[in-house]
Point group: C2
Chain length 168, copies 2
């Protein structure tokens, strides 16, 4: 993450660093979504991942607006957490042969990504409010709701289609 | 994670590997909780982390019961995701000087850990049900609820005490 370097002295610094962390994370997620879409065999899963790719682009531009509102230039900072989560996701693509098992693994990997985003945006919204950055809080709360909804959709997909087939 | 090696052919294989992943993760979390308790300055935060440490020990023994129910020996497999999340958490301990800022950073790091556990246990419960392992599903559903409750407690702490002070 590089989140917690020695320059972090105030809540404002901490807030800015977390914003840089999730900015880096979203850009990495965007890249990996292309691979995931390509590897999903279930049509509903493929469509869900594709629509989340579009959503991710909007979320990145919301982060750029947040930087602007704070008078800062958009900048990312390496985040080992998302790198690890995505490394696991990537490993699936080449290593599971059965298509139904692969889809189940892809859903699990995508949900791990969503939960990382949920926790980071949750923290950012709370801190933005506490620091009086209402506009930033509102902007990121929209993204937070989208991430929760994406996670719910993936859970429903896992229960209704992919895993049931896989377990047959 | 080493989760998705080439031996993963069936949903049963995938399920077992995810169990090994979270078993490794819980053991790493247990170690890092000691450092976190030591570094928290807010009394409520310190107490919450301490109580979660005890809970984590119980969760590890539940995982061992789950392995047993599946006729398997408990075994962990390296998980880069939790390693990354905990690396970030560790960086806080030495790099933020202000106590209120440090507490806020500790809460954020703990919530990232909780969300990783929530997504993994959520997936494990779903797959256990689909594979007909009701006893394993029930066991891990108890842990899932504990993790969700731990996350809720941390959110409340962030809003009620630590961050408010930090933002003053």
């Amino acid at each position: 993450m590089g989140l917690f370097s020695k320059e972090i002295r105030t809540m404002e610094d901490l807030h800015l660093h977390l914003l840089q962390d999730i900015y880096y994370a979203e850009k990495q997620i965007l890249k990996s979504l292309d691979d995931m879409v390509e590897n999903a065999t279930n049509r509903k899963l493929s469509a869900a991942l594709k629509s989340h790719r579009t959503e991710t682009e909007t979320q990145i531009s919301r982060l750029e607006q947040a930087f602007e509102l704070l008078g800062q230039k958009p900048k990312g900072t390496t985040c080992p957490a998302i790198d690890g989560i995505l490394k696991e996701a990537k490993e699936i693509l080449g290593d599971v042969e059965d298509k139904a098992v692969l889809d189940a693994a892809l859903i699990a990997a995508s949900q791990a990504v969503e939960h990382y985003e949920i926790t980071r945006y949750g923290t950012l919204v709370a801190w933005s409010k506490q620091l009086g950055n209402t506009a930033v809080a509102t902007l990121l709360a929209t993204t937070l709701e989208e991430e929760k909804e994406a996670d719910r959709k993936l859970s429903a997909l896992a229960e209704q289609t992919v895993n049931v087939k896989a377990a047959e």
